[in-house]
């Protein structure tokens, strides 16, 4: 892989920082089908009302990976996909057609990176004209809510500039 020429710098961040919440919905069958096409999950539970009735659910449910992908995308829109190190989701409750989802997150911790960190592969770039800000790993707590209910809880780690 070629090295970035003018890579985006990590976002400057501190404990307590948030990003404007994103609201998605009301979730439509089209949203679910579009994600099925993108991701390849053709479980009829997500698009076939007859099958859904026979399996005892009150209605078509979304695939957890849709909520996971939406939340991960909101996070990477904030901090930059190339700076993400880890993303973990826990599925707390099913999501149904018509649900309005609210995505939010907050930086809950900042940990200094030991050593040169994930910069250029051949060591620190001493020739760099602009000294990079100190890079740290931020811990982020995230959630997807429907009204007062949490449907997804998540945590993530991403490289940020901390000073």
């Amino acid at each position: 892989m070629s090295q970035p020429i003018r890579a985006r710098r990590p976002v400057r961040a501190a404990v307590g920082d948030t990003h404007p919440a994103r609201e998605i919905g009301p979730l439509t069958q089209t949203d679910i089908v579009r994600f099925a096409g993108a991701g390849g999950d053709f479980n009829p539970l997500h698009h076939d009302p007859e099958f859904v009735r026979s399996s005892g659910f009150p209605g078509v449910i979304s695939m957890g990976q849709l909520q996971a992908g939406i939340l991960a995308g909101w996070l990477s829109d904030w901090l930059g996909v190339e700076h993400l190190r880890e993303f973990e989701v826990r599925f707390v409750a099913p999501v149904f057609l018509g649900d309005v989802l609210r995505l939010s997150g907050e930086i809950v911790g900042i940990v200094a990176i030991d050593g040169p960190g994930p910069g250029p592969a051949d060591g620190p770039d001493a020739e760099s004209a602009v000294a990079p800000a100190a890079e740290s790993v931020a811990e982020i707590a995230l959630s997807v809510r429907r009204g007062d209910d949490t449907v997804v809880r998540a945590s993530a780690k991403a490289v940020v500039a901390s000073s």
């Binding site: 993108a38 939406i70 995308g73």
Partner: protein, 151 residues
């Protein structure tokens, strides 16, 4: 199916390419707006020579997998299985043009007491995605929960 017997089993192995069109499609389907996923100039300005994939892009490997076969292979009852959690670890960002190979293994298989009595089976899978040079780029861990049969 007795506990732990499947640990170490390779569930499946899949090869696939990270494609521009699929990146665009996945970004749109997940309401992701950063132009590095849809505009090659934006990706270049960020220092990459092609579109970057969204964080959960490897999920698209579902197109190349036979989900029914893997559930059968693990001896799970599909109608009682839910995904409890998923974790991705990123060793580098994926971009259009990457050729990946994904090996999915069972790393945990145990019974736990359910919250409302009975027992549930918890199967943990780990998928390692390596690039064309054999270097790991993403690791994914899925925790599947099979609820006990209701009385």
């Amino acid at each position: 199916m007795s506990d732990g017997k499947l640990v170490g089993t390779v569930v499946d192995e899949v090869a696939f390419d990270v494609e521009r069109g699929k990146i665009w499609e996945f970004a749109r389907a997940t309401f992701t707006t950063d132009p590095v996923h849809t505009d090659a100039d934006a990706a270049r300005a960020a220092g990459f020579d092609d579109l970057l994939a969204t964080p959960t892009h490897v999920v698209a490997v579902g197109h190349w997998r036979d989900q029914r076969a893997f559930v059968d292979r693990l001896g799970l009852a599909l109608e009682r299985v839910v995904v409890g959690s998923v974790r991705w670890q990123y060793l580098r960002p994926l971009r259009a043009g990457d050729s990946l190979r994904a090996v999915r293994r069972v790393v945990g298989d145990e019974r736990r007491a359910g919250k409302r009595g009975g027992s549930m089976r918890v199967v943990t899978l780990e998928t390692e995605y390596v690039d064309a040079t054999g270097t790991p780029v993403v690791r994914q861990r899925d925790v599947l929960i099979e609820r006990g049969k209701s009385a």
